[in-house]
Amino acid sequence: MGGTAVLFHNPREDWKLPSRGIVGMVCLIIAEAAIFIIFVVAYVFYLGKSLTGPTPRDVLELPIFTTICLLSSSFTVMGAVSALHRNKRNMCSLWLALTVLLGAIFIGGTAHEWYNLIYRDGLTIKTNLFGTTFYSLVGLHATHVVFGLCMLSLALLFSLRGQMTSKHTERLEVLSLYWHFVDGVWVVVFLVVYLFGR
């Protein structure tokens, strides 16, 4: 073993670095954001360029209720993190269950919307450019919601079985960061697709 360079400066006590979980999740969010930006750009670029109908104005309805559900789930997951931090494990389970429920309502709303679009309005990914860009952008977001719901349900399961303690606060916080990102993307999708693009 060669000598290691031990020097006198900086006693180890005041050497504190950021948490790797949070840094890792922030990196993942940057990379995912780049993917979403491209899909949003494609959506905006192809707005009004479809050769045939239906157009967004014909078929899209504002998903106000499900949007409120998804956005409030950001607050409930924050509640779960702070409850876990204070080691109130039952409260944590409750907040997590509420988060999963709100997310599930959102996904149910999307499923209902897609069912109507496909069977009532005849809009599929093949129909026109609107169908192509709409289903891919909203579908990519919905995939992220489903993934987040799986992870949150897993956390709920651990919490209900009493396997989650305040030691795990940081891990739940990392997951909540992802969930906030998914909500943030929905704000952009809502504005671009349902509000300004209609």
Partner: protein
């Protein structure tokens, strides 16, 4: 903490069932490892295999083009060759070899025992390795069940509508898409790991402004990976939706846009060039000071220039598209942005020169490659400025001048620094120094071959020879130039074989390296060669940018001069 397995498990030569079991154990150990050093070495080995494969493809193309009206390979095979050569070199040679060195060196240089997420690290490696295998599986399965297989033939940037189901029947393009998607996932995983490691795992005293420049440059590269790979992944998902689900992203008959693919691809494609070249700069930043026996000149300027390159490189992509007809304003913007990037790059070149200036230069093989890199990278940058001028690009776009220019960057700069990195750090990885004598043969053969090939390749480009043609008429006046270009390829091939022979020979018979063969200053040289699984027996703590200098010269430590 890394795995507790031994790092020096070499199969002994005794035959019999004992040997067989031992061999299986070694394979099992490498396949299941989460040690950053082993993953780094696996990255490097798999990239080297693909380097030989893709180099062989280049050789076949040069044989075909050496004389006019040649029929050595068919046009179809030629299309597959240049597609596979480009795709392999960028995604399965360049990226993995640079990630391999980063994986190996970053934790050692910042005094950590492993990467931040060791299992994610193994995942990143295996997913991108499978991506490479998938790409080459297309040779067997490209046509699916319909008949004999074919490799992708759409070019490495796969412009629409070549990739549409109508023009690309069978599954060869699907293999290409999936391979790139997997490689992208692996790249993001590894880049994420590198950022988290650099930010969260530094040893006490290793402040950001004391980090070795190599680590700084890998940090910027990794951040660029996030922003560049996203668009590629998104574009591949769109292409897959087009091909499998009947979407119309790049389907012009339904109002889709072929130009949009070009934008998305190059939003990835140009930062990718800098993702590949920044690690090469990173090697130069470590090698040039050590072999000039001087501290690097202008450390803060180097960091600032790197971050500047990172930002500017995100706004230059459309200089690949001047010939598309984007309009005067877009052309002007991308011309200017491309020219501006020469400023931070120039700062780097001057800093390297100032590091050499007055130094006590040791012309070992790594330093020879580094000096060749300086010259060649300068020329590559100058032809880059030429091509950034939109009107000149209208003349030269898609000609062999462009091919010569970017090979000057990729081979003349990046590959040269990769070779330098091998000669500098493989003693750390294997415990044995590469042979200097074979190294000098490798250097001269490769540099002469490089200049024969790529200096003279500019000329047929100026004479109007387009890229990606499988042959040409005898009366074009291109023959003599192509013959010289092809003859250079032979020198490079022999040089590469000498290099591989050197790697193998030195692994078994090379001179023992010891912990610090180059009398260097960064932390990786403070531990044994090869390092133990846990890297450092005690986590080091540092007081300056050159901790080993401080250790070797306690009477005059660098920390006395820190601001």
């Amino acid at each position: 903490m890394a795995t507790q397995t031994s790092t020096t498990a070499l199969p002994d030569t005794t035959a019999g069932p004992e040997f067989g079991r031992r061999w299986l154990e070694v394979v099992h150990e490498w396949v299941t490892t989460v040690d950053h050093k082993k993953i780094g070495i696996m990255y490097i080995c798999y990239a080297l295999i693909f380097l030989l494969v893709a180099g062989f493809e280049a050789l076949l193309m040069r044989i075909q083009l050496a004389i006019p009206n040649n029929t050595f390979v068919s046009p179809q095979v030629f299309n597959r060759l240049f597609t596979m050569h480009g795709t392999t070199m960028v995604f399965f040679v360049g990226m993995p070899i640079l990630f391999g060195f980063g994986n190996y060196l970053i934790p050692l240089m910042i005094g950590a025992r492993d990467m931040a997420f060791p299992r994610l690290n193994a995942f990143g490696f295996w997913i991108s390795a499978f991506g490479g295998l998938l790409l080459y599986f297309s040779y067997l399965g490209g046509d699916g069940l319909y008949g004999a297989g074919t490799a992708p033939d759409v070019g490495w940037f796969a412009y629409a509508p070549l990739t549409s189901p109508a023009f690309s029947v069978g599954h060869s393009t699907d293999y290409w898409t999936l391979a790139l998607l997997l490689s992208g996932v692996g790249s993001v995983a590894t880049a994420l790991n590198m950022v988290a490691t650099t930010i969260c795992m530094r040893c006490p005293g290793m402040k950001l402004n004391r980090m070795p420049l190599l680590v700084w440059l890998y940090l910027v590269t990794s951040l660029m990976v996030f922003i560049a790979i996203g668009p590629l992944t998104a574009a591949q998902i769109m292409l897959m939706l087009d091909r499998f689900a009947g979407a119309h992203f790049f389907d012009t008959q339904a109002g889709g846009s072929a130009v949009l693919w070009m934008h998305f691809f190059w939003i990835f494609g140009h930062p990718e060039v800098y993702i590949l070249v920044l690690p090469a700069f990173a090697f130069a930043n470590e090698i040039i000071p050590v072999f000039s026996r001087k501290a690097i000149f202008g450390y803060p300027a180097m960091v600032a220039a790197t971050i500047g390159i990172g930002f500017i490189s995100l706004s230059v992509w459309a200089h690949h598209m001047f010939t598309v007809g984007m309009g005067a304003w877009a052309n002007t913007f991308f011309t200017l942005a491309t020219m501006v990037i020469a400023v931070p790059t120039g700062i780097k070149i001057f800093n390297w020169l100032a590091t050499l200036w007055g130094g006590k230069i040791h012309f070992t093989v790594p330093m020879m490659f580094a000096v060749a890199f300086l010259f060649q990278f300068l020329i590559a940058g100058l032809t880059g400025i030429m091509l950034s001028v939109a009107p000149l690009d209208w003349q030269l776009g898609n000609s062999y001048f462009v091919v010569a220019h970017f090979h000057y960057v990729l081979v003349g700069a990046i590959l040269m620094m990769i070779f330098a990195a091998f000669y500098c750090w493989s003693p750390k990885m294997t415990g044995r120094v590469l042979s200097e004598k074979l190294g000098k043969w490798h250097f001269w053969l490769f540099v002469i071959g490089f200049h024969l090939t790529f200096d003279f390749m500019h000329v047929p480009g100026l004479l109007g020879m387009p890229r990606r043609i499988y042959t040409y008429e005898a009366d074009r006046g291109w023959m003599i130039w192509n013959l010289i270009v092809s003859s250079g390829a032979i020198f490079q091939a022999i040089g590469a074989l000498v290099f591989v022979y050197n790697l193998v020979w030195s692994y078994f018979k090379g001179q023992l390296a010891g912990a610090d063969p180059w009398d260097a200053w960064t932390l990786e040289w403070s531990t044994t060669s090869p390092p133990p699984a846990y890297n450092f027996a005690a986590i080091p703590s540092v007081g300056s940018r050159r901790p080993l200098w401080d250790l070797k010269h306690p009477e005059d430590p660098d920390s006395n001069y820190e601001m």
